[in-house]
Amino acid sequence: MAKGLKGKSAGLLLGAAVVLVALGYLIWGGIGSNLVYFYTPTELLAKGAAAYDKSARVGGMVEAGTVVWNADARELRFGITDGDTTVSVVSVGTPPQMFNEGQGVVVEGVYTPEHLFRSNKLMIKHSNEYRAPDPGKHPAEYYRELFKKSAS
C-alpha cells in the first residue's frame, strides 16, 4: 500500500515537473520573441543593419513638410524626427484626428532594409497628466465650422 502510494506520488511529481519544464521553455521563448524595444530615430539608425525586420517602437515628432496622405490607398507617409535624425514612416489607415505636423507620435512596426519604417500602429504621444491645449492649436479649431452648420 505504502509502496504503491509512493509510486503514485512519484508519477504525480513527474507529471507536474513535465508541465513546469514545458511552461518554462514556452515562457522563455515567448517573451524573447515578443519584446518590442523603444528607440528614438537616432538610436534606431545607430543600430544599422541590426535594426532591420525587428519589431520596434519609434517616438518623435512629425517633421514639417513631410506628410503625404494618399486617400485612395489610405496610405500615410511622413518623417519622424528627434531633431537630429529623421526616419521615413509609412502607415496604412486614417491617421487619428489629432495627427498633425509637429505633433509627438509613437509608431510601432518594423524597420526594413529599404530604410522605411512600416508602421502598423500610430499613436499620438501624450502624457497621462492633463495638459492645456497648445496655443494656436485649440481643438475647437477642428469643429468650429461644424458648429456653424449645426446651428443653422
Binding site: L23, I27, P95, H126, N128, Y142
Partner: protein
C-alpha cells in the same frame, strides 16, 4: 471647512485604529476579552471616522470647494453632478480614500462577528488585529503622502474636471467600486490566515472561515474585472476588451491566485492536506493586490490608469516587503501545525484534479507577472526601454486557459479520494461524443482557427461532464423519491448549494471562455470614408450610410457626432451615433463608440475623423462575434457564488459542523 474636517477625521481614525490593533493583539495574546472588546469598538469608531472623511470629500466635491487640493485637481463646475460624485475615485488620492472606506467597512464586519463562536474567538481576535493594522497603513497614506485634504491657495475659481476618459461613460460609477470591494476584500482572508497561524487554530473552522471570506471578495473581483473589460470595450474605441495593460494584469493576478485558493482550500477542508500551500496562496493573493497597487499607482509603469505620484510608491513597496517578511516568518514558525493530516490516496481523484488546477493557475499568474514586470526589470538591469507585446501573453495563456477549461469539466466528474476508473470512463462517453460532433460541425461551418476550435470543443466537453453532475444525482432522486425532473433538480441543487454554486460558476467560466475564444479569433474590422447622403457602404451582412455629421455643445464638453444608419441584410437595425468628445482640458478628442449589441455578434462603430464642413466622415466598423458571452459568463460566476453562499433554512438545531454534515452525506450519495 471640509478639508480640515477630513484631515481631523483621518488622524483620529489613525490613532484609534493603531490603539485598536494593539488592543486586539495584546488581548488575544494575553487572553483578555475586555481588550478585544475595546478593539471591536475601535474598529466601529474607525469606520465612523472614515465615513466622515469620505463624506467631507464628497461634500467638498459637490460644493466645488476648490480650496481642497483634491477638488482643485479633479473638480470642475461644468462636470455634471453624477460625474462629480464619482470623481471621488478618479485620481490617486481619492481612490486611496475609497480603499480606506471599504477596508474600514470590512474591518467593522470582522469586528462585528468576532467573539460569536467560542471556538474561533482567538483566531477572530488576531484577525481583527491584522485588519486594523491594514487600516493603519492606508490611514497613514491618507494623512501623509496621498493626502487629498490639503489646502490650496490662492483658491481657483474652477478646476480641470476629472480625466476625460473617466467621465466618458456612466459605468465608471460601478466598475471601480466593484473592483475595489473585491481587491480590498482580499485583506480579510489574509487577516484570517494570520489569525489562524497566530492562534494555532488550523483545523476545519479555519478552512471554512477562509473559504467563505475569500468567496465574497472573489465574486466581487470577478464582477469588477468583467465590468472593467466591458467598460474598456464600450469606451476605449479599439473594439477589444483586454489589452494586457498593467492595471488589468494587476487586477487579474490576485484573481488567479484567489481562484487557485478557492479550489485548494476545499482539499484542505476535506482532507487536511496542502495547508502550507493554501495559506501561501492567500498570502500571495494579498501581496499581489499590494504589488498591483504599487505598479499602477506609483507611476513606475506607464498605463492608461497610472496616476504617478512621488512618495506613494516607496510607501507601498515598504509595506509589500514588510508583509512578505512577516508572513514568511510566521509560516516558518508555525510549520509544525501546517503539516498535512491526510495524504493522497489515488491519482485518479478529485484531489489530483485540484493539484493540476493549482499548478496551472500559479503558472498563469507567473506568466502574467513576468510579462508585467519585464519592462521594469529590463529598464533596471539593462537600461533598455521595452514593452512586452500582447502576443506573448496570448501565446502563453491560451494553452493554460484551455487546460483549465478541460479541468473545469474533469474535476467535478472525479470523486474524492479514490476513483473508480470504469465509472469515470463511462461518464466521459457522451460528453466526448457531443464534443466530437460539435468539433466536426465547427469544421464544416468553416472554423479554421485552431485555438478557438479547441476552446469551444473543450468547453462543450467540460459542459457535458458538468451536466452529468446535475442530471446524475437528480435522476437518482427522481427515482427514489418519485419526483418530477424539475422538483428533483431543485431539491438536489438546494440540498448542496455549495457544490452546485461551484458548478454554476464553472458554467460561467465555460461561457466566458467561448466568448473570449470566438470574439478574439473572428473579430474583423473595416474602415471607410463615408460621404454624407452617399451610397451605403457594404460590409458583410451590414451596410452603413452616413446621414450627417454635426456638433453638439454640452456643459462639460463639445461633441462631434456622425449619424450613421446601420442595416443588416437590408433591414435598418439602428441609427448609430459614434462621436468624438472634446474636453476643455484635453488636447485630443476622446472617442465614444456606438455599439449595437446583437445575440450572436456586436456591430461597433468608431468615428475616426471627419471633414470640417460635415460632408464626409471616416468610420471604423468592428464586428465581434459572441463578445457578449464574456459579460454573461462573468455574471454567471457571481450568481454561482450567491447560490453557494445562500443561507440555509435552519431546520435542525445547529451544531458546529451542521453546514458540512448534510453536504458530505449528499456528496456521498452522489458518488454511488
Amino acid at each position: 471647512m471640509s478639508g480640515p474636517l477630513g484631515n481631523l477625521a483621518t488622524i483620529v481614525a489613525l490613532v484609534i485604529a493603531a490603539l485598536g490593533a494593539a488592543a486586539a493583539f495584546t488581548g488575544a495574546a494575553t487572553r483578555r476579552p475586555a481588550l478585544v472588546a475595546s478593539a471591536r469598538n475601535a474598529a466601529f469608531a474607525t469606520l465612523a471616522l472614515v465615513i466622515v472623511a469620505f463624506l467631507s470629500m464628497e461634500y467638498a466635491l459637490i460644493t466645488h470647494d476648490f480650496s481642497v487640493k483634491y477638488v482643485a485637481q479633479v473638480g470642475s463646475r461644468a462636470t455634471p453632478l453624477f460625474y462629480t460624485i464619482i470623481s471621488a475615485w478618479s485620481a490617486l488620492e481619492g481612490s486611496i480614500l475609497l480603499w480606506a472606506l471599504i477596508l474600514a467597512t470590512y474591518t467593522a464586519i470582522v469586528a462585528w462577528r468576532t467573539g460569536r463562536q467560542p471556538e474561533t474567538e482567538l483566531m477572530d481576535s488576531y484577525a481583527l488585529g491584522a485588519m486594523l493594522t491594514s487600516n493603519i497603513f492606508f490611514l497613514l497614506l491618507i494623512a501623509g503622502p496621498a493626502n487629498p485634504f490639503g489646502t490650496v491657495s490662492p483658491v481657483l475659481a474652477d478646476g480641470p474636471g476629472p480625466n476625460p476618459l473617466l467621465q466618458n461613460h456612466a459605468f465608471m460609477g460601478v466598475h471601480p467600486p466593484l473592483l475595489y470591494i473585491g481587491y480590498v476584500g482580499m485583506s480579510v482572508p489574509f487577516a484570517f490566515a494570520i489569525g489562524g497561524l497566530l492562534s494555532g487554530n488550523l483545523g476545519r473552522d479555519w478552512s471554512r472561515t477562509l473559504r467563505r471570506w475569500t468567496l465574497v471578495p472573489w465574486a466581487f473581483l470577478t464582477l469588477g474585472i468583467t465590468a472593467g473589460a466591458w467598460w474598456s470595450y464600450e469606451v476605449l474605441g479599439w473594439g477589444g476588451f483586454w489589452a494586457w495593460d498593467p492595471v488589468e494584469n494587476a487586477s487579474f493576478m490576485p484573481w488567479l491566485t484567489a481562484t487557485a485558493f478557492v479550489h485548494s482550500v476545499m482539499v484542505q477542508e476535506r482532507r487536511e492536506m496542502l495547508k502550507t500551500w493554501t495559506v501561501s496562496l492567500i498570502i500571495a493573493t494579498f501581496l499581489l493586490t499590494i504589488l498591483g497597487t504599487f505598479l499602477t499607482r506609483s507611476g513606475v509603469i506607464a498605463s492608461v490608469h497610472a496616476f504617478s505620484e512621488g512618495l506613494v510608491g516607496p510607501f507601498f513597496l515598504g509595506y509589500l516587503g514588510l508583509v512578505l517578511l512577516l508572513s514568511l516568518v510566521l509560516i516558518a514558525w508555525k510549520s509544525e501545525h501546517l503539516r498535512a493530516a491526510g495524504s493522497l490516496d489515488s491519482v485518479v481523484s478529485r484531489e489530483t484534479a485540484f493539484l493540476f488546477n493549482n499548478l496551472l493557475f500559479v503558472a498563469f499568474t507567473f506568466v502574467v507577472l513576468l510579462g508585467t514586470m519585464f519592462p521594469l526589470l529590463a529598464d533596471a538591469i539593462r537600461g533598455a526601454k521595452v514593452t512586452v507585446g500582447g502576443p506573448y501573453f496570448n501565446q502563453m495563456t491560451v494553452p493554460i486557459g484551455v487546460a483549465l477549461v478541460f479541468l473545469a469539466g474533469i474535476g467535478p466528474a472525479l470523486p474524492w479520494r479514490r476513483g473508480d476508473g470504469g465509472a469515470f470512463s463511462r461518464k466521459l462517453v457522451w460528453p466526448a461524443g457531443v464534443a466530437a460532433l460539435v468539433g466536426v460541425m465547427l469544421m464544416v461551418a468553416g472554423v479554421r482557427h485552431f485555438w478557438a476550435w479547441l476552446t469551444v470543443v473543450t468547453a462543450v466537453f467540460a459542459g457535458g461532464l458538468v451536466i452529468g453532475e446535475f442530471t446524475g444525482p437528480a435522476g437518482a432522486r427522481r427515482r427514489s423519491h418519485r419526483e418530477s425532473w424539475p422538483a428533483a433538480l431543485w431539491s438536489v441543487m438546494t440540498g448542496n448549494r455549495r457544490r452546485y454554486g461551484g458548478y454554476i460558476a464553472h458554467y460561467g467560466v465555460l461561457v466566458a471562455a467561448i466568448g473570449i475564444a470566438i470574439s478574439s479569433a473572428y473579430k474583423h474590422e473595416g474602415e471607410w470614408n463615408l460621404t454624407k447622403g452617399g451610397p451605403p457602404q457594404q460590409y458583410g451582412a451590414y451596410s452603413l450610410q452616413l446621414d450627417s455629421v454635426w456638433a453638439v455643445k454640452e456643459r462639460q464638453r463639445d461633441g462631434v457626432i456622425a449619424s450613421v444608419q446601420a442595416f443588416k441584410n437590408g433591414r435598418l437595425i439602428e441609427r448609430m451615433e459614434p462621436r468624438l468628445n472634446y474636453y476643455p482640458m484635453s488636447n485630443e478628442p476622446i472617442a465614444t463608440p456606438s455599439v449595437h449589441e446583437g445575440a450572436s455578434e456586436d456591430l461597433y462603430l468608431v468615428l475616426v475623423a471627419y471633414e470640417q464642413d460635415g460632408s464626409r466622415a471616416t468610420v471604423k466598423a468592428i464586428v465581434s462575434p459572441m463578445v457578449g458571452w464574456i459579460w454573461w459568463g462573468g455574471i454567471m460566476i457571481a450568481l454561482g457564488v450567491i447560490w453557494g453562499l445562500w443561507p440555509k433554512r435552519r431546520t435542525a438545531p445547529e451544531s458546529g459542523d451542521a453546514a458540512a454534515g448534510p453536504a458530505r452525506e449528499l456528496a456521498g450519495s452522489a458518488r454511488s
